[in-house]
Amino acid sequence: MSKKIFIVEDEADIVEFYIEVLEMYGFDVVGSARNGAQAVVKFAAMSEHPDIIIMDHRMPIMTGIEATTKILEIDPDVKIIFASADDSIEKQARQLGVVSFEKKPFDLDRLIAAVREISFPDN
C-alpha cells in the first residue's frame, strides 16, 4: 500500500514538481495547501490523515513552524519532512518533532530518498 503524502508549499511550480516526482515513484499525494493556515484546516478536516507531510517554512498567513506545531497537536504520529531554504530554523523544527530537514534547493533523488527513508525505515 502506497504512502499518502500531503504537500504544504506556496510556490505552485514546486508543488507541481513534488506531485510529478512523488507520483512517478508511486506515492499517493492526497492534497496540498498554499500556506500553513490552510494546511492546518485541511489536515483537521481529513477523515484519514496522510502518512507524510512535506512542509515549507516561509509562507504567507502562517509559517511552517506554526503549522507543524498545530498539526502535531492534532496528530502526533504524522511524519513531517521540512523543506526550506532557511537553515536557521532547522534546530527549532527538529525540536518540534519533524523527522527530516531538507535544505532547498535539493534534487529529485534527495526528495525521493527522504520520503523513502520514512516510508520504509527497515530498508
Binding site: 510556490e11 511550480d13 514546486i14 514538481f17 513534488y18 510529478e20 516526482v21 512517478m24 516561509r58 531554504a85 532557511d86 537553515d87 532547498k104 534547493p105 535539493f106 534534487d107 529529485l108 533523488d109 526528495l111
Partner: protein
C-alpha cells in the same frame, strides 16, 4: 630687761664650773644669747659676784644661788631647744660650751666636744675663713656677721665678743631658704630669658601705660624698651586700627571677656605697618589690674592669605572660562552625538532594509532554483538517454549550484558581523572538507578535477555553517580559476600552533595560475570593486570571526605560476 649681767660661780658649787652669760644683742631680733661657761676657763673669785643694776650686794646669797640654778636650767633648756648652732669659744677657738644643735652639726657628743678646737671639725678652707672672722671679732671687739657655704649647705655666722677675749659663735643653717632663693632666682632667669627671647612681642600694659615690654616688642615698634615703658600702647597701633583696639581693650576691662584674640596693625618707627595678631589677657600685676599682650607678626600669613585669595579669584575666573568653554563644547558634542545617533539609526535602518531584501531575494531565488532543479531532473528522466541534452542539463545544474553558492556567500557576508562566538556550532573539519569536495564535483561535473584528500580522525572546530562557506570559497577558487586541462587540488590538514593558539591548518594547493604579489596583497579587500568578487574577502571575514586566519602563498615559493597554496588556520574546539 636691758643692760649686761655677769654671773660668777664659786668652785665646787652645784653649778660649779658654769657661769651664765647673757645679753641682749640686738633689739631687732629679740635674741637672747645664753652661754654656760666653764669655770676653769675663767678665774672667778669664790664669792659670787652678782652684777645687778644697782650693785647693792644685799641679796641673800642662797637665794641668789637657787635663783641662778633655776636660771641655768632654763637657759640650758632654751639653748638646746633652738636649731641655731651656738658655741662659746675661747680666744684660741676651744669650745667652752656647745649647744645640742652645734654638737650635732659638728658630729660630736654634746659633753665630749668641750675643750676641742672648733675649726678642727671643718675642712681647712672653711676653718680658715671662719677663723679669720673670729679674729676680726676679737681684735675689733665687735659683732661680725658673715654668710658662707659648706658641703652644699648655707650658713649665717655671727661672732660676738664677750669678756676675757672670748666669743660666742652663732650659726644658723639657712640652706632651705637659700635653696628656695636660688631656685626662685633660676626660675626668674629662665622665664625672663624665655620672655626676652620669645619670637612674639610680649608686654604688660594698662589703659594708661606700658609697664613691661620684651625685646621682640621693641623690634616690632622700633623703640628701646626704656623708651616704651610709661607710654601708651595705643600710640603704637596704626591709626586706622586704634579705635577698634581701644574698643577691644574696653571689652576686656568691662569683664565681657578675660581673653581676646584679634588681628590688628602696628606702626613701626620707620613707618612700616606690621600685621599683628594680639592675644590679650587680663592679669593682676603688682596688685593692680593690667593686661598681658602677646603680639605675633602675621604679615607673612596675611600676605599669603591675600595671595591665596588672588589665586582663588584667578582660579574662579579660569574655572568660569573653562566651564563656559566646556558648556559650548558639550553643546557641540551633544549635537554631534545626536547627528551620529541619527546616522547610526539611518545606517541600521539601511542595513536592516538591505538584509530584508537579501533575505527575500535569497529565499525566492532558492525557491526558483529548487523548482528549476526539480524540473531539470524530471527532464533528465524524460529525455531517455540523449547525451547532448543531458550535457546541457548538467550545465544548467552547474549554474544552479553556483547560484546556490553565491546566495550562501551573500547571506553569510551580510550576517558575518553579527555572529557571536557563542553561536558557533562544533563540526569535524574533515566532514566539512568532504562535503565541499562533493559540492565542487556537482558544480563542475564535466571538468577533469582531481581532489587529493585523505581524512584522518576527527578534527573538531567551531563554526559549522560559516566555515563551510570559507572552505567552499577556497576549493571553488582552486577549481574555477585553474585554467588547466587537468585540475589537481591537494588538500591536507595538519596540527599547528599559531601565536600560542592550537589550530588545525587546512592547506589547499592547486596547479592553477597562482597569485601575483599584487593580487596576494589585495585578495582580501573588496574596496567596492565587484570584479574581484566576494569570495576571498568573505573567507577572510569568516576566519576573523572564528579567531583564525587565511594566508595565500605560492605552491612553489617564488614561482607563482606553479599554483597557489591557500591555508586556513582554524582554532581547535576545546
Amino acid at each position: 630687761m636691758s643692760g649686761s649681767f655677769d654671773y660668777c660661780f664659786p668652785e665646787g658649787s652645784i653649778i660649779a664650773g658654769y657661769a651664765l652669760y647673757f645679753r641682749i644683742i640686738t633689739f631687732q631680733y629679740m635674741f637672747i644669747e645664753c652661754c654656760p661657761v666653764k669655770s676653769r676657763s675663767f678665774s672667778y673669785p669664790a664669792k659670787v659676784l652678782i652684777m645687778t643694776g644697782d650693785n647693792s650686794g644685799n641679796i641673800d646669797q642662797k637665794m641668789r644661788i637657787s635663783y641662778l640654778e633655776s636660771m641655768f636650767e632654763k637657759m640650758e633648756l632654751l639653748l638646746n631647744s633652738t636649731d641655731v648652732l651656738i658655741a662659746f669659744l675661747d680666744s684660741e677657738g676651744h669650745i667652752i660650751f656647745a649647744n645640742k644643735s652645734m654638737a650635732e652639726s659638728l658630729g660630736a657628743d654634746i659633753h665630749n666636744c668641750e675643750d676641742t678646737v672648733i675649726w678642727d671639725f671643718m675642712d681647712a678652707e672653711t676653718g680658715n675663713r671662719r677663723k679669720k672672722y673670729f679674729r676680726e671679732c676679737l681684735e675689733k671687739n665687735k659683732l661680725v656677721n658673715f654668710e658662707d657655704e659648706r658641703n652644699g649647705r648655707y650658713f649665717i655666722n655671727s661672732f660676738a665678743p664677750v669678756s676675757n677675749n672670748n666669743a660666742i659663735v652663732m650659726v644658723r643653717n639657712i640652706t632651705p631658704r637659700r635653696r628656695a632663693e636660688i631656685a626662685l632666682r633660676e626660675s626668674e632667669e629662665k622665664y625672663r630669658s624665655l620672655v626676652e627671647n620669645a619670637n612674639d612681642g610680649i608686654c604688660i600694659f594698662t589703659e594708661e601705660a606700658v609697664l613691661y615690654a620684651n625685646r621682640r616688642f621693641s623690634d616690632l615698634v622700633g623703640f628701646q624698651a626704656d623708651g616704651i615703658i610709661g607710654t601708651s600702647l595705643s600710640l603704637y597701633i596704626a591709626p586706622s586700627e586704634r579705635d577698634c583696639f581701644i574698643r577691644n581693650i574696653a571689652s576686656l576691662a568691662h569683664g565681657e571677656k578675660t581673653q581676646f584674640v584679634f588681628d590688628s596693625m602696628i606702626n613701626h618707627r620707620d613707618g612700616i605697618r606690621i600685621n599683628i595678631e594680639f592675644n590679650i589677657s587680663v592679669i593682676t600685676y603688682n596688685g593692680h589690674r593690667a593686661y598681658l599682650a602677646f603680639m605675633r607678626d602675621i604679615t607673612n600669613r596675611v600676605n599669603s592669605a591675600a595671595e591665596l585669595r588672588r589665586h582663588r579669584d584667578h582660579l574662579g575666573e579660569l574655572v568660569y572660562e573653562r566651564t563656559l568653554e566646556l558648556t559650548l563644547t558639550n553643546k557641540e558634542l551633544r549635537h554631534e552625538i545626536a547627528e551620529r545617533k541619527l546616522a547610526q539609526e539611518s545606517l541600521q535602518s539601511a542595513k536592516s532594509e538591505a538584509e530584508f531584501y537579501i533575505d527575500l531575494m535569497s529565499h525566492d531565488l532558492t525557491n526558483f532554483n529548487h523548482a528549476l532543479l526539480g524540473n531539470i531532473d524530471l527532464l533528465d528522466h524524460a529525455i531517455n538517454g540523449d547525451d547532448k541534452v543531458r550535457r546541457l542539463l548538467n550545465s544548467c545544474r552547474r549554474q544552479i549550484a553556483r547560484s546556490k553558492l553565491l546566495i550562501h556567500k551573500v547571506r553569510t557576508f551580510s550576517k558575518i558581523k553579527d555572529i557571536a562566538a557563542a553561536d558557533l556550532m562544533e563540526i569535524d573539519l574533515n566532514v566539512c572538507i568532504t562535503d565541499s569536495i562533493n559540492l565542487m564535483k556537482k558544480m563542475y561535473p564535466g571538468n577533469d578535477v582531481q581532489f587529493v584528500f585523505e581524512p584522518e580522525g576527527k578534527k573538531n572546530i567551531l563554526g559549522a555553517d560559516i566555515l563551510s562557506a570559507a572552505v567552499n570559497i577556497v576549493l571553488e577558487n582552486a577549481v574555477a580559476h585553474a585554467g588547466a586541462q587537468i585540475v589537481n587540488v591537494e588538500i591536507s590538514v595538519m596540527e599547528n600552533n599559531v601565536d600560542g593558539l592550537d589550530v588545525w591548518t587546512l592547506c589547499v594547493a592547486d596547479n592553477g595560475p597562482g597569485f601575483s604579489d599584487e593580487q596576494k596583497k589585495n585578495a582580501f579587500t573588496t574596496d567596492g570593486n565587484t570584479l574581484r568578487g566576494l569570495g576571498l574577502p568573505l573567507a577572510n571575514e569568516i576566519m576573523k570571526t572564528l579567531g583564525g586566519r587565511i594566508k595565500i602563498e605560492d605552491r612553489t615559493p617564488g614561482v607563482p605560476q606553479h599554483g597557489a597554496l591557500v591555508t586556513l588556520s582554524i582554532p581547535k574546539a576545546r
